[in-house]
């Protein structure tokens, strides 16, 4: 029973990290209708930034992670301004191929500058070890992830739903021209939304290094996972993405412990069934 | 053959809380020239979508020649003899009018579903497509990609495609919409030339077209039929004047 709860918590923690990374993708893909296959590359930028800040610049863990999110946000905004925004009205296939091009360049760049081996991140002492919770003992890092994840979930959803910024994004996506004629700078809005999505991805990437490690092939390895989470959750729905991410994390971790021979089979089969029965995802708009 | 060629029985359609078609009992007579008019948002296009299968009714039934069709998919209804045009052209941008018509005729001739059949050997299909192009005044541009044609010609192709299935019932959704005045003459000629055996229902805002062409008018307002009758009756009806023609004076 204890083992079962531990697996559950490990899965949930992983799920939170996935949510952070997939949340931004849900925004760009679902709200902005931009098929960004390079999203996981921004998560990778966050991961490497955090690891390098800690290892080379002696920055403490929490500021490094926050710094990583900033760096990822800047990178995202840069790419959006220079390259991505030209493709907002292009056919989906072109968006897919262009962003895959960006992924390949990112992988090559990471291999060249940081090296092809997997890197580890050094985590401060207060995040190592276990904390007792009644009769259980939870791994500190996982508990930290869950707390941070909950806080961010509330923050991000509140931000999108309650603030004017969020309202402007939703308006711009519903009707770009109308929003622009209300005097709102839609270009800047989209850049800001993209930066937000990339920041979340970078945060998720930075936090994930301790859990799953990091190597230059991260963007391709996680592309499929993130795409599945976002489609099963429902494009544009952060709530749906959250549920899908948690489910994904739990099924993935539980699957690996309980049925190691099956690998990702259960996951992909489950995703396929959901998508065939309900192509719009759990919380997506009715197609 | 008695009875209307197309009719609905207590037809309802709602999207959540919004009811767009509210208990419509509509009949289209054989060989009719029947116009459907009404203010914007009255549900005219929705009614055509329901008749042709692009929308499924929430309640009620639709009959084509006495046979129930409201549960059939679009393709089946068209194959049974319905034809329709769209308010905004629904054409194949990169195909030529000839190719589009060949496609329509191929379906009718049962040539689909055979991937190894050479089109160049199906001369009867090509000839028939060419004939339709000539009859609808598209013969001179039939080899240009559709997206290169002027809008009025595209509108003609829209009608030609609807006719290519040899329909018994033709539903035209604002056939002259968006056509510049210089080209609308051709569109009107094409409509005028439509065979008498085909029963026609058309939605129009252009009152000149309506009163010139319709033998019977139905006025639809907020999803219900306000009134119905021959053109001069409708023109004199005070309700209609108030709800629709009166509003038209402003617009």
């Amino acid at each position: 029973m204890l083992g079962f709860i531990n697996i559950l918590l490990a899965g949930i923690a992983y799920g939170f990290v996935l949510f952070l990374m997939a949340g931004g993708l849900s925004i760009t893909l679902g709200l902005m209708k931009f098929a960004n296959m390079a999203h996981a590359a921004f998560a990778m930028v966050g991961g490497y930034s955090a690891a390098l800040l800690i290892a080379k610049a002696d920055v403490p863990f929490v500021p490094a992670v926050i710094g990583a999110a900033f760096i990822a946000a800047l990178t995202g905004a840069l790419f959006e301004r220079v390259l991505f925004h030209r493709f907002y009205r292009a056919p989906e296939l072109e968006q897919v191929l262009m962003t895959i091009g960006v992924v390949y360049v990112a992988i090559a760049g990471a291999t060249y500058f940081v090296g092809p081996e997997q890197i580890a991140i050094s985590v401060p002492a207060w995040l190592e070890g276990n904390v007792p919770l009644g009769v259980l003992e939870i791994n500190n890092y996982r508990a930290f992830l869950i707390l941070v994840g909950l806080a961010l979930l509330g923050g991000v959803v509140g931000f999108i739903e309650r603030t004017t910024f969020g309202a402007k994004i939703r308006a711009a996506v519903a009707n770009r021209r109308m929003t622009a004629s209300c005097g709102i700078d839609v270009d800047r809005l989209y850049t800001a939304a993209f930066a937000l999505g990339s920041a979340l991805a970078g945060l998720g990437g930075a936090l994930s290094v301790k859990l799953i490690g990091l190597d230059p092939y991260f963007p391709i390895k996680f592309l499929t996972e993130l795409l599945i989470v976002v489609s099963v959750g429902g494009l544009g729905s952060l709530g749906g993405t959250f549920v899908a991410a948690i489910l994904f994390g739990v099924v993935d971790v539980a699957g690996k412990y309980l049925f190691p021979e099956a690998g990702g089979f259960i996951l992909y089969a489950a995703a396929l069934i959901v998508l065939t029965v309900r192509p719009q995802g759990l919380a997506g708009p009715q197609l | 053959m008695n009875g209307p060629v197309l009719h609905t029985s207590d037809l309802y359609k709602s999207f959540g809380g919004l009811t767009v078609i509210n208990g419509v009992n509509f009949s289209l007579g054989r060989g009719a020239r029947h116009a459907l008019i009404g203010p914007n948002g009255a549900g005219k296009s929705s009614l055509v979508h329901l008749l042709t299968g692009f929308l499924r009714p929430s309640r009620g039934e639709i009959f084509l020649d006495g046979a129930r069709i409201d549960q059939l998919p679009i393709e089946n209804r068209i194959a049974l003899g319905l034809g329709r045009t769209f308010q905004v052209n629904a054409l194949f941008p990169r195909l030529t009018p000839l190719e589009s018509l060949v496609l329509a005729v191929s379906r009718r001739s049962g040539l689909l579903g055979q991937p190894l059949r050479a089109l160049s050997r199906c001369s009867h299909v090509v000839e028939e497509a060419h004939d339709i192009a000539i009859r609808t005044g598209l013969a001179d541009v039939c080899l240009k990609p559709t997206r290169e044609l002027p809008y009025g010609r595209q509108r003609l192709l829209e009608i030609a495609l609807a006719l290519s299935g040899n329909p018994t019932v033709l539903l035209l959704d604002e056939p002259a919409a968006g056509v510049p005045a210089s080209e609308s003459y051709e569109v009107m000629e094409a409509i005028e030339a439509l065979p008498n055996e085909v029963s026609i229902l058309f939605i129009e805002h252009d009152m000149e077209l309506v009163f010139r062409f319709a033998e019977r008018i139905t006025v639809l307002v907020a999803g219900s039929i306000l009134c119905e009758g021959p053109p001069d009756e409708i023109a004199r009806d005070s309700d209609v004047q108030r709800v629709y023609l009166g509003a038209k004076a402003h617009g």
Partner: protein, 333 residues
């Protein structure tokens, strides 16, 4: 305004199926390459096989507008079917080829029936998931597929009972060439048939297709079945000519690479898949040997550049170039 008369119309229809110079050039050049590069036969055979696979994707994506992000599943199914037959004692090439195509085709048909309701972006996800699923299934059953080490022990009998598979790859080359060419002819026929026209119509405007009483679902079924069968043939060819089948044949990487080959060569032209494959496989061979990182980097840049310029790949570029040249010649005379 002179009406276009029936003679011109018939000519226009025949034009659709006419052999373009680019097509003739490719098949002639491919045959010549056997004599020009006798030490590179394995690579050349790879190009032909990858080209055939890319062409199968073109039918679906270029002509039908149906995205498929997991097409390698069909390729790999064909490869493993043919490979397993040979590894278990039946090394006859043509029947193995047919078996590979049949298994892949049946899977494609089944798949198209199940996912008939799915469109657009969801289609991308679903096809990707299927690809991943098949990969996982193959990866977790090493007793059947050989797992990471690959399926080995494939011993092929002579083609048509006469032509033995030799160490230099001569038989393999001509075997692949003949099969690919025959299938190319079949694909051309499909595309220039009324059914092919219906497929394009479905891509251009599904609403109008429905209004012509043409079933989109049926077009998808036919396109998927044909495309999957061709992909399966390509995979079977790979298994038979290299006499080993690796998990890579089912991988996401292969699906994406083939998509890139197709786009580089030019969607919706059939020959584009072969041209793109030639360029891609050749470049990869050179650049990967230097440094695998270089290959990824340049491939990425080329992709971005191509999408920015949107010229329709090699085929589109050639068409544009020849249009410009004709205009120049026309204005000069």
């Amino acid at each position: 305004m002179t009406a276009v008369d029936i003679v011109l119309v018939r000519k226009a229809i025949r034009e659709r199926a006419r052999w373009r110079s680019l097509e003739i050039a490719f098949w002639v050049a491919a045959a010549c390459s056997y004599f020009l590069f006798p030490t590179h036969l394995v690579l050349l055979t790879q190009i032909i096989i990858s080209g055939l696979f890319a062409m199968s994707l073109d039918l679906l994506l270029g002509y039908g507008g149906i995205p498929s992000f997991g097409h390698a599943a069909f390729f790999g199914l064909g490869a493993y079917t043919a490979g397993l037959l040979a590894a278990h004692g039946w090394g006859e090439p043509l029947s193995g080829l047919l078996a590979g195509g049949a298994v892949a085709g049946a899977t494609g048909l089944l798949f198209s029936i199940v996912i008939a309701r799915v469109h657009g972006a969801a289609m991308l996800m679903v096809t990707m998931c299927v690809g991943l699923l098949v990969y996982e299934a193959a990866s977790r059953t090493p007793w059947l597929t050989g797992g990471d080490t690959g399926l080995q022990g494939i011993a092929m009998w002579p083609v048509l009972g006469r032509f033995e598979f030799d160490l230099f790859g001569k038989t393999a080359f001509w075997y692949a060439y003949a099969v690919a060419f025959a299938l190319y002819l079949a694909a051309r026929r499909y595309v220039s048939s009324p059914e092919g026209l219906a497929l394009e119509g479905m891509r251009e405007n599904p609403t109008r297709i429905a209004s012509l009483a043409i079933s989109s679902a049926k077009r998808k079924m036919i396109a998927f079945t044909v495309s999957a069968t061709l992909a399966g043939f390509a995979g079977a060819l790979l298994a038979q000519t290299t006499q080993i089948v690796a998990l890579e044949t089912l991988s996401f990487d292969r699906s994406v690479s083939t998509l890139i080959m197709l786009v580089v060569g030019g969607l919706g032209s059939l020959i584009g898949g072969f041209l793109g494959a030639a360029l891609f496989v050749w470049l990869r061979d050179i650049l990967s040997a230097l440094n695998p990182v270089y290959w990824m980097f340049w491939l990425g840049l080329i992709l971005i550049g191509m999408m920015l310029s949107a010229r329709g790949g090699l085929v589109g570029g050639v068409a544009l170039l020849s249009k410009r040249m004709r205009a120049m010649i026309g204005s000069a005379t």
